[in-house]
Amino acid sequence: MRVKNLPMALGMLLSLAGWALAAETKYIHVKVEDTGPNAETVRINLPLSLAEKVLPAIHTKECDGGKVRVKEARFNDVDLRAILEALRTAPENEFVTVESARSHVRVAKSGGNLLVKVRETKEKDKPETVEVSVPFTVVDALLSGGKDELDVLAGVRALGAIGDTVLVTVNDKDTKVRIWVDSQSSTE
């Protein structure tokens, strides 16, 4: 190879390496659109790698080394951890379906994800829908800490290991919320 082409080749190689590194960065996005009288759009983009580095450096009473302490992981004597553990080990299925004149609630396990879908219809208004889809690998990671803590750092790492995914979608009369993970640095 001619020596005069070496700098150009090195430059191209470094550009490709930089592009590859940038492409690997995954972001968690939050977009909140308020279409009501106080119309407002909020977009938050956070690189998972940043969260992964920053979380272990926070040392407060509530959050220490990436683990968030939860005072009570129980709701009125319902052991949430035990329920999630049961769901995780259960075969793929629809677990709960509640249907009434105004609401429809569905909790299921599908494609390795915990799915929660809620649809509520209020008089005259557009129906309000909430959809949550969390991979069980993330649920497992979150619950991998001690009894009264959530291992958020492990959850972030697990999120980074999965592909592009929509975690939460909320649509109601005036507000739309979307939380998702992908490799784009912006929400658009």
Binding site: A22, T25, Y27, N38, A39, E40, T41, V42, R43, I44, N45, L46, P47, S49, L50, K53, V54, L55, A57, I58, H59, T60, K61, E62, V68, R69, V70, K71, E72, A73, L80, L150, S185, S186, T187
Partner: protein, 165 residues
Amino acid sequence: MPAGTGAVAGGAGTLLLAAAIVGGAYVYDMGAVRVSVKSKSPGGENIRLVLPAAVAPVGMWLAPKEKLREAAEQARPYLPALEVAADELGRGPDFALVEVTNPREKVRIAKEGTHLVIDVDDANEVVHVAVPLNAVRAVAAQLGAIPPAPTGQAEDPSPSEGHTL
């Protein structure tokens, strides 16, 4: 002039030059804080400031010690995270961290190159602030180095209660 005096003067000159070079390199490395305010009202004032970011840590020496200690106490649990965040942001690609848009204003906080940039565009003015990430890290490190208040004087740095799942 005796030969010895000339040698001392030469040595002092070299030292001063070295100090100026080192100081200049430090100031250059820290970058500059840029603040720009453009008024939208007719005849309104426009302000444009470019300050060496190195003055931020120096300015902390001039701040009242008690106020600084108080600020350090409140921020202490988050200061290592701020240092890590500044480092990590510096390494990664550019991106908008937060964008808020409503009919009254647009706010954007982004990482651009080696700076954290804040843009606000409202009915009255357009504000642009660019702070070098190096300066953020230096200020966080300096705040973290302030010794805690003697026992009994410091307030609990994390007053809020734990979350309930």
